[in-house]
Symmetry: C2
């Protein structure tokens, strides 16, 4: 719950942006800026989910009209890319410092997972634009570690991008789960619904899925994610 630096950071900042009349009045005295827009975007996405972020709600949050936003960002896509990149850089920067490269890789991956857990809308966003800055930041962080690990020159990009794609795929599924969940119900109920659907599939055409259905409800997403990281790490070191 609290293993995300960026989550707590933005949580602290968010008191400034509470929709109380006092703070809203204080807010209007400061001019709009891209920074302010990104902060408000992250706040709304975290608190109310992806569907809640429209240029109308964002503008209302900042006590202005939707048109004002276009003086600081070119489009909603640019705003979302900037918000995602912000969250990912905070996560990656906060996880650096490990000396052992294997530990560093796990720490970085875990930090990214925790950022996605705290801001599940990122999962959908990273898929919306290809090779956006947030994705390149991950490639850089992972690639540098694989190089330190002594992975051969040509394999460095292969292994790093494999890990990046794995993270993106998991982030996407995670975000989709959070979206269909609404922010209230807990994740176990969602997983229970998933296994319920799995059990209703024909057992002879889906034997594997049936065999893993039991026990899936109480599986630990974070542990599961890190297990996948270790599979890729083992594969990278096996040549």
């Amino acid at each position: 719950m609290f293993h995300d630096q960026s989550g707590t950071l933005f949580h602290r900042v968010s008191r400034w942006h509470m929709p109380s009349t006092t703070s809203r009045r204080r807010r209007r005295s400061v001019p709009l800026s891209k920074e302010r827009l990104i902060a408000a975007t992250i706040e709304i996405l975290d608190a109310e989910g992806e569907d809640a972020l429209t240029f109308r709600t964002l503008a209302a949050h900042l006590s202005t009209g939707p048109g004002a936003i276009y003086h600081h960002v070119a489009s909603k896509a640019e705003l979302l890319m900037s918000a995602a990149s912000r969250v990912i850089s905070v996560a990656i920067d906060g996880s650096s410092g490990e000396q052992n490269p294997v530990a560093a890789l796990r720490a970085t991956a875990a930090a990214v997972f925790d950022a996605i857990d705290a801001h599940p809308w990122i999962g959908a966003q990273l898929t919306r634009e290809p090779w956006q800055l947030a994705v390149v930041q991950m490639l850089e962080a992972f690639g540098r570690i694989f190089r330190e690990l002594g992975v051969a020159k040509l394999a460095q990009f292969n292994t790093a991008s494999t890990l990046v794609h794995y993270v993106l795929g998991l982030a996407g599924q995670y975000a989709a789960g959070a979206r269909t969940l609404g922010s209230r119900t807990d994740r176990e109920a969602f997983l229970l619904g998933v296994t319920e659907q799995w059990r209703q599939l024909d057992a002879s055409t889906y034997p594997f899925v049936h065999s893993v259905a039991e026990g899936f409800e109480q599986h630990d997403d974070r542990k599961q994610f890190l297990a996948g990281v270790d599979v890729i790490l083992a594969g990278a070191l096996s040549r």
Copy 2:
């Protein structure tokens, strides 16, 4: 280009649905059905891209009104899930038959890649709803092979879902690339633009990205994808 069974299949079917007046008149004599809606959906997505599929264009394509669609599917989300699942099952079914499990895994993964290549809109769709049927179908296909490979019982789900997430992540990036591309320009121009952006990043904060930027333009997406599959396969077998 032609390594996708589903692609050619739907291409052949698509003559029925050409927007010529004759076929459109012939079409109206047949009642609407979910099957027909799915076929038309895939057709429009393949030919015109994700943005072109609206319930208005789909209805016009079938010479009816948008409301008629709701007699056969509950929502646009359901229609897209069904379309994705259709494409994935055709791809997976067409790739079965390999006896050697390692060859089978590579063949299945390649078939899924080719399906994504032929229908890039799938990449975005698979991220839209969590654990939708198309994703479960991949989990089943991969999981069964990992079991055959002798992966330990507890690791079977780990390794299979790692591979599924990797495929989903790559599919998402691929689809995003295809979307920003428009369907006409070739992929090399897109990759050139990506590396151009990479080169403009600060070289001291992005040393790894800079080091892999050269040569990235002419990299082979399919080969790259299969290299990642082999990394995960090696990791799965390394314990």
